[in-house]
Amino acid sequence: MGTTLAQKAWDAHVVRRASGGGKDDLLYVDLQLLHEVNTPQAFDRLRAAGRTVRRPDLTVGTEDHNTPTLALDRVIKDREGRRQAELMRSNCAEFGIPLHRFGDPGQGIVHVIAPELGLVRPGMTIVCCDSHTTTLGAFGALAFGIGASQVEHVLATQTLPMRPLKTMAVNVEGTLPEGVSAKDLVLALIAQIGTAGGQGHIIEYRGAGVRALSMEARMTLCNMSVEAGSRAGMVAPDETTFAYLERCPGMPQGEEWDAEVAYWRSLASDADARFDREVTIDARELSPYVSWGTNPAQSVPLAGQVPAAADFGTAAERAAAERALTYMDLKPGTALRDVSVDTVFLGSCTNSRIEDLRAAADVLRGRKVADGLHMMIVPGSARVRLQAVEEGLDRVFAEAGADFRVGAGCSMCAALNEDRLLPGQRAASTNNRNFEGRQGRGSRTHIVSPAVAAATAVTGRLSSPADL
């Protein structure tokens, strides 16, 4: 029987198999990413135990969660946030870990900068104290989020004891229709399998619908794997992957490159590989999706209506829907297209890459953001901002009346910096979580794609470009 992509990546990193009667394999970690939240404790303990960082050359840091967006010379206002950033700087300096500080051209959201820096390649194992590390599985890497104690463990040993995970194939049949994006695909998938649908599994996205996606779109897809409860999401590397990687800095050249590509090709799941679970979704039937509730599975087609609690099968689902409807202040049966928003947020590690900005600019070109609506665009990285400016997207945004921020980072996705919604405000947002209070206390979030975000900014109501 053949093996899957995930198993191949796993097996290539086993330092030693489970021993001593336990069930954990010891896995080697090719890259650990750090950001300023959740890491100070790990460094404190490392120091207390008299240990050091084993491989600072396989570790890299950035500042993203607390960073301001209005100007590059702005300081972090929040006292605890500033303290986290200061500790990040002193810890990285002490242990020789490269850090892309706010204002540096390599800075940005951890999951956005890692591929830009050429640090993500097929078959690698990558960890970060952040659940959306799944993003990097788009390159065929085994990338997952870890806890604070595990960060310390990887710093000290460059390994992690891990219990083998199950595998799940998501087969995407057909290709997405015009105007439907990877964001819509993944929202439809989560609506289908639920927020625990992938629990204990590594998802591999397969099929024609996935092969046709760009690297940026695959990152969006893998990013939200964690919202389906899965530990990681992966796409087998192919020509699209190689073409993207070829443009990244620090790649091997000549024969060495050819050898790498040959190795990467061999990582694809074997034809006779068996998955523990298989799910099929037909891309041809999809349309733009939007969330109505307070978890990502509470999503429906934009053309649809807000459901009623009674529509759900289990008592727990009905109770959750009831709570969500109250929190979101929505009436069952309301057409999603009739829901007005006061804010549109284009950003986050799900959708803040250049392709996402282009998709929004294509909609906004020659149009205006609705009166009284605030559309905020936060680039995922300093690189993304620079490229957007080179392509003239900044002018498109300015002419449309959108607020294209200078500083890159998480911004209103987690609302840890100054950017947040006020209680009761409603946003169409390209991020990944619509939890209660996610974008500020009392905030209401509708998760959408970049194109839907831009169209919504124009009409003031949840809309797709086709509605304009």
Binding site: D30, A49, G50, E80, S149, Q150, T159, P161, V389
Partner: protein, 224 residues
Amino acid sequence: MEKATVMEKATLRENATVMEKFTVHTGTAAPLRRTDVDTDQIIPVRFCASTRRDGHADSLFADWRTEDGFVLEQPERKGATVLVAGQDFGTGSSREYAVWALQDYGFRAVIAPRFGDIFRGNSLMNGLLTVVVPAAVVERLWELTEADPTALVTVDLERLQVRCADLVQDFTLDEDVRRRLLGGLDAIADTLLDEADIARYEATRRPALPVTRPPVTYPPATVR
């Protein structure tokens, strides 16, 4: 590099002072008659902005400790080291602060019929023993320790037993974790016993794999 000798392994163990050994622990108990105690209740999010692992004792169950008669506030529960709780203790957010707060307060073990997955993993990483026993046994422990606050509860990791008065209950634990806790090895010290394997693996890594140093530097951005 050769495998570490027995002597060297012993030294590594000595140096692993981060985690206290857990062999047999006996102490008084705090009977917490509640189920579904999620990590938000164990330590509310407003106490999680700290950049430290210690100093969380006062934040433990912060919102409940202002309630009349909450178990931890009863004078006879001072010094309790074993927490006995209901089903699904430690569900919700993955915050490791929950474990740190319990340890900081003085708890060495938590006994419950079922735990939240991530919380259990975090607790065992930190040397807080989470013991799974049937709900009826928890009920019995509640009765015994409520009737007599000085009743001693023993959590015996060597024999995998919980004992209190005439009650003797077996429990199970992953063998790797048990060995680690018994030796007082934190997970890192445990892994470092296999340092030779790590070094050997490192020597065979494909050379083309990326490194972060020196960092990629881009030309300075001119930001409009």
